[in-house]
Amino acid sequence: MSNKIKVMTSGNLAFAEAMRQIDPDVVAAYPITPSTEIPMKFADFVANGRVTSEYIAVESEHSAISACVGASAAGARVMTASSANGVALMHEIFPIAASFRTPIVFGLVNRSLGAPVNIHCDHSDSMPERDSGWIQIYCEDAQEVYDSVLLAVRLAEDPRVLTPVFVCQDGFITSHCYEAVELLSDEAVKNFVGERTPQYPLLDTDDPVSYGSFTMSEYYFEIKRNQMEGMNNVLSVYAELAAELERETGRNYRPVENYRADDADYLIVVMSSAAGVVKDVVDELREEGVKAGALRVRFFRPFPRRELASLAKGKRGVAVLDRSASIGGTAPLSSEVKSALYALDKRVPVQEYIFGLGGRDLYAKDARAVFEKMIAGEYGEEARFIGLLEKDDEDERA
């Protein structure tokens, strides 16, 4: 392993530092809380000659992602960042980017969608993009953000994948809080990410191609299915890349983190920073003789169905904590988990929970209550809300 340094930094700054070391060709970005620091820090790098990239200070998020698609289709290595309504404004272009197979790496700093306007963390900005064709990786802490950015560049650009990537982190909680992060040397990063070898770049005027044709029904379906194959290859390619990076860092994040789940009776399934609280509670309960465990889902797209099903198999109960709702339907993570568990011969009871909307924290007592309800065998068909102020109604208590 080469030289590494340990610094006190935040998720945003760790992302920006990774960007500096990667030194992408083009960054087109627009500020929005809580991701603003990323383009701001990067612009600073550009202004001080610490990167060779060009920064396009676009006039909206829609133009940010459009310029990214243009630059990436042209053959450049491209990165950007956004949150919340900025991500929503980009929504139209995400499927186009995925369809064009542009390997853009995107720092999605999770923040709630308006209305009402709230600048704090939940996953309601990234979840609507789960059908966009982009890879989604959810990070628990700043270290994981840093490592994931490096992996994301290689993953996105791999010819078997060629799919853009969202590297998600919780707004303010991860993006702004300081923790110890181990950084690789500039050289190690450069060696790991290498150079991009674009397929069908627009700037190849000797072999001209046209992107984004008007396509009738006899061609569209096959083009889409071809695109899907890139996503189908992600987990196997990721395993290779994670093993490669592990040689440098000593860390290897699986698509689903298994926290004391093997011999557990009861599991909480959760994503991102809230997993930290859950893991603490798992440890407490274990001390008390309860076989609790946790699964932290890191890849939401592609969803690691088989891995999750094999980890949840035979459990007495599973509770899924979603940090966003799919209003009128099953919450996103719950929906994926239930779908994955459908394949099991023996049914595992699943309780759907919604928590943390608009940045409301998950407390240890909340996680403990979730386990206790499972232990008491209390499951309901409807989703339960954690930490929500409700008028007390005996009949409606789940």
């Binding site: 064009f100 197979r101 542009t102 060629l162 397929q199 069908y200 001209p208 046209s210 006899e218 096959e222």
Partner: protein, 114 residues
Amino acid sequence: MSKPQSWQEVPPGTVAFGASALKVQTGLWRSSRPVVDAAKCVSCLKCWIQCPDDSIALGSGGKVEGINLFFCKGCGLCAKVCPAGAISMHPESGFAHEEQRDGEHPGEVGAHVK
């Protein structure tokens, strides 16, 4: 590449290859056909520069040789702009006695000179 292909074979990224439209026989749209009178034509190239479909066939030195019937849509612009009155429009049905034009090589010129 003109027939639908299996999903495994389509080029990635929605990519279509440059100038592949040269295979599209837009001449099949025609309901009237321009005819060039070589005796009147002075190769001023006003028709060539105005044609939305680049269907005025030129020879060496920019000399007008006729109409590219593979592509010509029969809009009649060339006849309109010709200052010498060298181009006239005729109903396409009048040429029905000729061979079917399927598979005609793009760029093949039909120079019907009076």
